[in-house]
Amino acid sequence: MSNPQLVMYDEEFKQINGVIEKLLREANAKVIFLVDKNGQLISGVGETERFDTTSLASLTAGNIAATGGLAKLIGEKEFSILFHEGEKDNLHISIVGGRVILVVLFDSRSSLGLVRLRVKKASDELTAIFERLMQKAEEKEKSGESDFPFAEITDDDIDNLFS
């Protein structure tokens, strides 16, 4: 498969949140989201309750996919950073470790320069965590060790979802 399944464990989830919370403070941002390239929200910190995070995640992934398509048309691998400037709020979107999207929402209390600088540092840390995560998932699968909750689901379990 072109894109292996993404699995998130408690330990890495905490580490990831630690990194983006630090980024939120250091970049003076309002909200930070991490989104899978397929459009699934991985985590968010800051004033997340003010936003429709699910929609934001899906549109961000669509945006990255569309610009990625543009990049390929002109012979680039991808555009790794996107910046959207609004009247009050701005979006800084970047690709981390090739498969995860980091979205930083900030206003005039911060600046594009500061955000870019801090994002770069955080990206390296996030890349390392996601690499470990992928390795871990792979090892678990190889060893056959799995606490996967769906291994024993029954038809009844599934039918109950729709009742």
Binding site: V7, G62, G69, I153
Partner: protein, 195 residues
């Protein structure tokens, strides 16, 4: 591919509705949206032209409930059906867990259906997927119209491998949830198998 989050105990899956232009993909999502309880659904997003033709995609997040303590969420997407939006269609297939093919039952759309299925298979291949190995169901839509092709013939042309198929009228909602249930079930069974 699906995203399993042990930290927040969630499983997210992506379903894509595929099919020729004006076959009723968006109508399927709209009906699901209307009939789903507020707490189970998110906002429906439609990136459409001024004449309500899908430009990039429609998106509807659904939370179906819990299985073994895990929240199961399905993200429903449609592709733009018109032939010249092929580049966009490819993008939306990224990370897909299951596909619903919505066929237009009208005689004059038969060729468009066949072309669209071929396009689906080809675009999936480009992303490294095999349609025959992916959870896949077919919906024969617009069964209420007068000039329609028989289900037998639609089956022969569009469903040679015998995947689950359903007759529907998305405008009134007939067959819409049956289709959704079938694809959700196939995806969950695939998840079970995968581990």
């Amino acid at each position: 591919m699906s995203f399993i989050n042990y930290a927040s105990r969630e499983i997210n899956c992506k379903i894509v509705y595929y099919g020729p232009g004006l076959c009723g993909k968006t109508t399927n999502l709209q009906f699901v949206y209307q009939k789903t309880a507020t707490e189970a659904k998110g906002k429906m997003i439609s990136l459409a032209t001024e004449t309500e033709r899908t430009l990039f995609f429609d998106f509807l997040p659904l939370a179906l409930g819990e299985i073994r303590g895990f929240k199961t969420r399905f993200h429903l997407y449609t592709v733009p059906g018109q032939v010249f939006y092929d580049a966009s269609r490819k993008l939306i297939l990224k990370g897909v867990d299951g596909v619903v093919f919505v066929a237009d039952s009208q005689e004059e759309r038969m060729e468009a259906n066949i072309e669209s299925v071929e396009n689906l298979r080809f675009n999936l291949q480009e992303q490294g997927y095999d349609l025959d190995k992916l959870p896949y169901v077919i919906q024969y839509n617009k069964r209420d119209l007068p000039n329609i092709v028989s289900v037998d013939e639609l089956r022969r042309e569009l469903n040679p491998t015998g995947v689950p198929d359903f007759e529907a009228c998305a405008a009134t909602g007939e067959g819409v949830f049956e289709t959704l249930k079938a694809i959700a079930k196939l995806i969950l069974l695939e998840l079970k198998k995968g581990k």
